[in-house]
Symmetry: C2
Subunit: 219 residues, 2 copies
Amino acid sequence: MEKIQPRSLYLEVADRVRDLIEQGSLLPGEKIAEKELCESFGVSRTPLREALKVLTSEGLVENLPNRGSRVVRLTRQGVKNTYDVMGALEGLSGELACQHLSDEDVEQIRALHQRMLNHYRNGELAPYFEVNQQIHERILAASNNDVLIEMYNNLSQRVKRIRYSVEMGQANWAKAVADHEAMLEAIDARDGKRLGDILRAHLGHKLEVATVSGIIDEE
Amino acid sequence: MEKIQPRSLYLEVADRVRDLIEQGSLLPGEKIAEKELCESFGVSRTPLREALKVLTSEGLVENLPNRGSRVVRLTRQGVKNTYDVMGALEGLSGELACQHLSDEDVEQIRALHQRMLNHYRNGELAPYFEVNQQIHERILAASNNDVLIEMYNNLSQRVKRIRYSVEMGQANWAKAVADHEAMLEAIDARDGKRLGDILRAHLGHKLEVATVSGIIDEE
DNA sequence: TATTTGAATAATGAATTCATAATACCGAAA
DNA sequence: TTTCGGTATTATGAATTCATTATTCAAATA
């Protein structure tokens, strides 16, 4: 039997605003007009303001007293900082995952890995990224550490709105794939230490940062 | 000329509630009566409710729709999960710190280290912990990564309300001190990789977890 | 013409009010 | 006595209202 989950309005609103930010309907640095959003959502200002406060503590929005809320600007340094932390968390996810991964889990990851390799060989970048991310998510989930998952998802959300210029140097791409091969070996051996080291050094993200497009502020 | 910093009321309230939780005036699992708190703070329900939503997204409070807010319960597993993530973050802080630590920074850390050793030799546990924490904070600050600092502080806040039974096995204590000696060597050599590894394995916290007292829920 | 001052307007912050859901209470029936 | 049902009470959720602070824009001054 499935539980009925009543959800608060402010959470719903927060989700919607998060989506707007992620999809670029609300741009970094843009002022968030409460009245406007309220009308488009069909709610009063109270739940919207509550949602904005949540998003503020999530790092997506900033709150200037008496001057309303804005979408936080991304700086190159800020994005790098975020990816550095995500890397550390991925490293931990690898270590922990090896303690929990069942044989079936590993088989599923291996299947994903093969699909990823196919996309790589065919030069299909978008599908490659898609499957790539699924692999990392599997490992994260297998960490069985909900605090870790929560932190990672928060950071992930902050940089989701970045759209990468879809160009990855052939060498970098090959390196990333090689990393994944090594990851699979470590997983097979349930060698958490090694998987963690690989993931920490994987830098899949950092590579991308270098090629970030528009919405990041310079200076 | 110093800038005037207007602070929102809800942030003030959030700080106060955080303190109440940290000091144990609000116990894990305890229902948070809005009316009561409002009166004691002298504010209306609106800023309090906003503050509670912030604390919810910080992981200190949970929100049951239509049934109000409670202080989240700490479970052994939850605390372990938190410390695991904190360990990973500390590891990263060590790696990054080595890229930024000035000679003066190192000297200050060395001084703290010596004070810590004195407390160790005198068997003064509380002062030892105090200085110990200052060292870790210095390293964290030297990471120059505000995202990392923010995440760490959040997690730290979640477990701050735990009061440890002040007993640490002599062997564990000696091990912790030895770790710190190694840390200082790595810092001197600006060997980020090594410092990171030491910090990740330091487990200073995990040792404590085993001896946690009252407010953690079993099961 | 550029800059500053002040009034009008709009937006935000916080308290209050209203609606709704949960809890407590009490009596009746098994 | 215990359990069920129904009402009264209370607390929460959300909208609304009120107060205060920013912003805009026009007029006045340099």
